[in-house]
Symmetry: C2
Subunit: 309 residues, 2 copies
Amino acid sequence: MGKTLIFGHKNPDTDTITAAIAHAHLKNELGEEAEAVRLGDVNGETQYALDYFNVEAPRFIEAAATETDKVILVDHNEKQQSVDDLEKVQILEVIDHHRIANFQTKDPLYYRAEPVGCTATILNKLYKENDVKIPKEIAGLMVSAIISDSLLFKSPTCTDQDKAAAEELAKLAGINLNEYGLAMLKAGADISDKTVEDLLSLDAKEFDMNGHKVEVAQVNTVDVNDVLKNKQAINDATAKVIDERGLSLFLFVITDILENNSVIIANGEQINTVEKAFDISLEDKQGLLRGVVSRKKQIVPQLTEAFTN
Amino acid sequence: MGKTLIFGHKNPDTDTITAAIAHAHLKNELGEEAEAVRLGDVNGETQYALDYFNVEAPRFIEAAATETDKVILVDHNEKQQSVDDLEKVQILEVIDHHRIANFQTKDPLYYRAEPVGCTATILNKLYKENDVKIPKEIAGLMVSAIISDSLLFKSPTCTDQDKAAAEELAKLAGINLNEYGLAMLKAGADISDKTVEDLLSLDAKEFDMNGHKVEVAQVNTVDVNDVLKNKQAINDATAKVIDERGLSLFLFVITDILENNSVIIANGEQINTVEKAFDISLEDKQGLLRGVVSRKKQIVPQLTEAFTN
């Protein structure tokens, strides 16, 4: 038995880490035993938010079934993005804002997905529906998640609901949205101490696209050239991952958070599918996607479509 | 394009039909173009509720993509229970209270599942969350769904939330719960004019259980022997369906709504898995499941487990 474990996806980002913390707090306030945990390292942006609001990172776990028989997933549902032994535990709830795929249960569950930009926007509703007050530091983490997922409201995934929730939460947290938001995003975009392997795994998700295993990794930066100078090492490293995990495609997305464009570097046998998906010609495996900042809305559906038809 | 079509599962029951009607009304009140439709014949119980509250049955459709590109699913999610051309349209929303299986989307969506006894209980919340008043006749259909899915609160699927919602809705509808409920259930249990083929398809659902196609059909009655007198014809008919659709198992569940037991008749190559699932010995393909009235909670999980391990 043991208490319910709540976690987001592997290679955690700010939404995934803070959603686990915020949802566990809500559950505890409602008298349910639950603990936020994480499936990977905390990135620089998330650490900035945790430090700012003086909250400890959740505990790292490698497996769930060794300590509990029931879990709650936040910010993801696809099993390849989740804990490795997911099939050994019961999924009580999912709170998410992504497509649904590679997910199934034996029993009915609480599943709350909404097509909004951030899990925190949905959690903000759940706090209200359950009539629980959001403490200052939790509100701070939740607004950090919205800033992160929406790139300060500039991503096409950002909805009016996300903006409204961010404004409410910023007030509760006592921060200036723009000032705090830019500082947090810049902390996340600081890649000076990162190896190429770090960059490729920092925010990487694996997808099943019509039977093809596709990895899409994204990194935010204020200087794309600073990343591109390591292009040969990036190609070598993605080739290695492709080989080890049997991927059809590795797409590395370098997003300029000031210009709101992305440079992509593709590798693998299905590199042509990238050209088809975005109607571009890659030069030396590299291309520019103008106005593209969102993996979820501007990359994954287009790639899935290209793999399907 | 066209308006959004809202529908429940094939072989519709009262929850599926009335959930489509109630959710379409909510959408219309919110200014969205939506129409309730159905994927099969209206059964006797549902017709009783529709007649009582003077509401017309939704229009029957065989395909969705011929008239729209977007749909909302209520009371189901598994694709084999849905419209045949589901893959050709975008699923905007799902409102459901079942396990999730054989379901996937390319894009984020609104998915609201709760582990309650009836879709109407969730819709009652959605009306409140959206601050829309439930008209008398819609409340009447919604309470009919809760009575139907919970067998007047006697099914183990029935939660306190379902009871509370039913009492609220009964008030709005101006009915006496017990009086109306018994009359409606009896109208549904009247099988005097039904052929064996009718009984097997009235409330039948197909499941994928670890690669096995399994059909579980249920019929409510006040006289089990009245159904069992046709046992040979039932066996012949299930054998035919098994053959035509490549099923591993056909389980026919005859539920006594006064005694709250079910007699089962199993057919197909996987008949032994039924014995394993319920720890019983079938005699001449027949067995008694004491206290079992819910396919969702007392039959499907146990069978799925037995097929998996």
